[in-house]
């Protein structure tokens, strides 16, 4: 037990997420015939790819004590506009197509960031506003036309099914591997770069960060641009996965991204959390989401309620257990510190 307690709280959270997933899989396998199978695995992982990319951006924003509610609308706008562009320019190189989506997302994130960091409007207000504004623009712009997969280049339509390696029916899809690789890289940057340390410092104490001469406004601007760019990438994944893009594309994804982050242990008040945690949160959410779809006799409208319950539970558990766990792990750490130095302490430490 003391071995568990000597882990940092983030690690503990990540382990407990695995436990929750195992319990969920066990329960669903009792409720659903042929629950576990290749196609189910592939469906969950493909949807995880989109949520996880969004959750990574959301995590960066939340770490600085802000929130980005506009990501769902950014996904909708970038998916639609990129689809439209590909309709007209089917020969566009894949890299440029992805870059197009990412650049539009980054631009929309830049607007959020400027308003939050420089105009000093609270992030929840700014992004609630742009959530509506970006969506309204899309409705206007689309003139109720729908993007369909017919007009998209083949490589876009086939991307979701392209597979790097298969184990029987279980595929490791390119988009899944790509999003995992992206999150790993981002996590390493967050932990290893000066910029990453600044993100945590700004979130845990903005006043102290200012007095320590950190470029607080630039850091905040940066995370909003990153969140927008990642939402743009998610928009592209959305386009390739569904092919058909209406003006409602991406509706409600902001809820998913916030849920993934807080379930993954990112402190809603900033300053603490990891991208790996948010990724695991995204896996859990999509696992539950896709499983509930298959429970016989359960209305699909329950899925949002489950998501909402998860967010509240995660934050409540943090509050109720946080102090207790923190104290226990502190005393465990204190005991260790007086004894033999623990191996590798610091290697997995804070960022």
């Amino acid at each position: 037990m003391s071995g568990l307690l000597s882990l940092r709280p983030e690690r503990l959270r990540e382990l407990s997420l695995f436990a929750v997933m195992a319990v969920a899989v066990f329960i669903f396998s009792l409720l659903i015939d042929n629950y576990i199978g290749g196609s189910f695995f592939n469906r969950v992982t493909t949807s995880v790819a989109i949520t996880a990319v969004l959750a990574a951006g959301q995590t960066l924003v939340i770490l600085t004590r802000n929130i980005d509610l506009s990501v769902g609308s950014i996904v909708g706008v970038t998916a639609y506009v990129t689809g439209e562009y590909l309709h007209n320019h089917p020969d566009l190189a894949p890299v440029l197509a992805v870059g197009y989506a990412v650049a539009i997302g980054a631009g929309l994130g830049l607007l959020n960031g400027v308003l939050v960091a420089y105009a000093k409007v609270p992030a929840i207000i700014v992004t609630l506003g742009t959530l509506a504004i970006y969506r309204t623009w899309l409705i206007n712009h689309s003139d109720s036309r729908t993007i369909t997969s017919d007009g998209l280049p083949d490589w876009v339509v086939e991307l979701p099914n392209s597979t790097i390696v298969s184990f029987g029916d279980f595929d490791i899809r390119t988009v899944v591997a790509g999003s995992i690789a992206l999150i790993v890289v981002l996590q390493l940057m967050l932990g290893g770069l000066k910029w990453g340390r600044w993100v945590y410092a700004v979130g845990s104490n903005p006043d102290a960060a200012r007095q320590a001469a950190l470029p607080v406004r630039r850091v905040i601007l940066g995370v909003f641009v990153a969140s927008g760019a990642l939402a743009g990438l998610a928009g592209f994944l959305f386009l390739s996965r569904f092919g058909t893009i209406t003006v409602n594309a991406g509706n409600g994804l902001e809820l998913q991204s916030v849920a993934a982050a807080v379930v993954g242990g990112v402190n809603i008040f900033g300053g603490a959390g990891t991208l790996v945690g948010a990724f695991l949160g995204a896996v859990l959410i999509n696992l539950l989401d896709q499983s509930l779809l298959r429970v016989p006799g359960l209305s699909e409208f329950w899925r949002d309620a489950v998501l909402g319950t998860l967010i509240i539970t995660a934050v409540a558990v943090d509050f109720l257990l946080g102090k207790r766990l923190g104290r226990l792990s502190t005393s465990a750490r204190g005991r260790r510190a007086t004894g033999v130095p623990p191996p590798g302490q610091g290697a997995s430490s804070d960022a």
Partner: protein
């Protein structure tokens, strides 16, 4: 001053053999404490000695593992702070727990929920004024609490306690955020309380105050009661010995050094409506004390020099070159560092590690060619400061929120020393830290000055300013009242200047 209260009356609260354990820590070990009506009982001890735990047991927040609490002779078992309040026990903390958006009267009567549905405003204002008058405080009870000074907020808290017919009032470092003048006003209020038969348990790190106000002085150390003496039989030296368990001089004696060249020259510095006409020269190796009441503008001068609040008028020259720092970054680059008086708000990133805090302001020095942070050189630097400043921590990776106040203070000091400033502004560097840590900070200041650093020491602790400074600049209501040489800076002279008396 009034005579000692009668203490042959029955005790109002009697705690005997109280023990409390948290995990591996024995926070209280067989502690007994008795309070009589009308007495002011001082409780002393270093941070971590068990004072807070004892208060929490008294106010029903913690229940003791063993021991008995008797209120007016009857055994009491508090199941929560509500029980303690009903028994007439209230506590006031260093940071007043007021409702900033409510007015004074509403705050005073916040805990009265038995006054019917409708608020009789006129009666409430009259009653609030009457209660404040009992402690000799006159203020506009319609004022918003957020507009009050900390001292006035504390008066509101005392009035709140009075309105609840309190019999035991615990005051946990009530003077930590007050100037000397405000503290003496608070003492008058305390005397009014004790005259009315309230027992006051008074906790403070300032020994002068303790010996001024208390009838009895009790010292805790490591969760045990070390001594409990009537004031007349206690001495400050004895109390310090009891607290730290060893001999220690109250204040570090500076080794006066010859001063070096002028580093910082300030002339006619002013900011509209805040302070004006501040002028001084600061030399290498000098400690220049800034004395004055809280709100006299000393911190604002510091903030202006550090580039946080821009001055409107005046000249600042650093080594002969004109300096106009518009941001902390420019100030740091020029070699000025400022240690904030509020370490939790402005000083530290509490959830982050000791190492991350120490390197925060200088992070660009730890970037390798691959743009990655060099963790091991960060740790080397942090380890050096840990040793040099004697920061007691389980590890370099411990979040600073888990360190004691004194060690947090030293961590913040390490962060600024790590910027290698030529001018270091220290704003209340020993506020709220225990006697041992305070002596260590004083020694560090002396060593820094001896190494040639120019230091501005802003402090409301007058004995500290006088003991540590080569010269003392006194401010009052934004005006510079005088600049005293070490020899002329007597306590009387500084207080007279700070209060504007003749």
């Amino acid at each position: 001053m009034s005579a000692l209260p009668e203490i042959d009356t029955a005790p109002v609260i009697e705690m005997s053999g109280i023990s409390k354990r948290f995990d591996a820590t024995q926070a209280l070990d067989d502690v007994s404490l008795t309070l009589y009506p009308g007495e002011t009982h001082a409780l002393l001890g270093e941070n971590g000695a068990g004072k807070s735990t004892l208060i929490k047991v008294m106010t029903g927040i913690h229940s003791p593992d063993s021991g008995v609490i008797r209120v007016s002779g009857e055994e009491a078992r508090f199941k929560g702070s509500g029980d303690a309040q009903r028994a007439g026990i209230a506590a006031i903390y260093q940071e007043p727990a007021i409702f900033p958006d409510l007015n004074v009267a509403e705050n005073v009567f916040m805990s009265h929920q038995d006054r019917g549905v409708l608020v009789n405003w006129r009666r409430m204002y009259k009653d609030a004024e009457a209660i404040l008058a009992r402690i000799d405080v006159r203020m506009d009870v319609r004022m918003l609490a957020s507009d009050l000074t900390v001292a006035a907020q504390q008066a509101v808290e005392i009035a709140k306690a009075l309105s609840l017919d309190v019999r035991v009032l615990i005051m946990d470092e009530p003077t930590a955020a007050l100037s000397a003048h405000e503290a003496s006003e608070l003492f008058k209020q305390i005397r009014r309380l004790t005259d009315a038969g309230v027992a006051v348990l008074f906790i403070s790190h300032r020994l002068d105050e303790v010996f001024e106000i208390a009838n009895r002085v009790t010292v805790l150390r490591d969760g045990r009661l070390i001594s409990s003496r009537p004031r007349d039989e206690a001495t400050q030296a004895q109390a310090i010995r009891d607290m730290v368990g060893r001999e220690m001089s109250d204040f570090f004696a500076r080794n006066p050094q010859p001063l070096g060249d002028v580093v910082l020259r300030v002339d006619g510095l002013g900011r509209e409506g805040v302070f004006s006409d501040v002028a001084f020269e600061l030399h290498e190796g000098e400690v220049l004390g800034f004395a004055g009441l809280v709100g006299a503008g000393r911190t604002d001068v510091g903030l202006s020099l550090f580039g946080i609040a821009r001055p409107d008028t005046g000249v600042v020259e650093l080594r002969g070159k004109s300096l106009s720092a518009a941001s902390p970054r420019q100030a740091l680059r020029a070699g000025i560092a400022y240690l904030s008086e509020d370490r939790r708000r402005f000083g530290l990133s509490l959830p982050q590690s000791l190492t991350a805090n120490i390197t925060l302001a200088t992070l660009r020095n730890y970037v390798t060619r691959l743009r990655l942070l060099d963790r091991s050189s960060e740790r080397t630097v942090a380890a050096r400061f840990r040793e040099k400043l004697n920061i007691r921590t389980p590890s370099l990776e411990t979040p600073v929120e888990q360190l004691s106040g004194g060690n947090q203070q030293k961590t913040m000091l390490a962060k600024w020393l790590n910027t290698q400033p030529s001018v270091l502004i220290l704003d209340e560097p020993t506020r709220g830290i225990d006697v041992g840590a305070k002596a260590e900070v004083h020694q560090i200041i002396d060593e820094l000055a001896a190494s040639g650093m120019a230091i501005i020491l802003i402090s409301s602790d007058l004995p500290e300013v006088l003991a540590m400074s080569d010269r003392v600049l006194v401010m009052r209501e934004g005006q510079q009242m005088g600049l005293f040489e070490r020899g002329e800076a007597s306590e009387e002279a500084v207080i007279t200047a700070a209060m504007g008396a003749q």
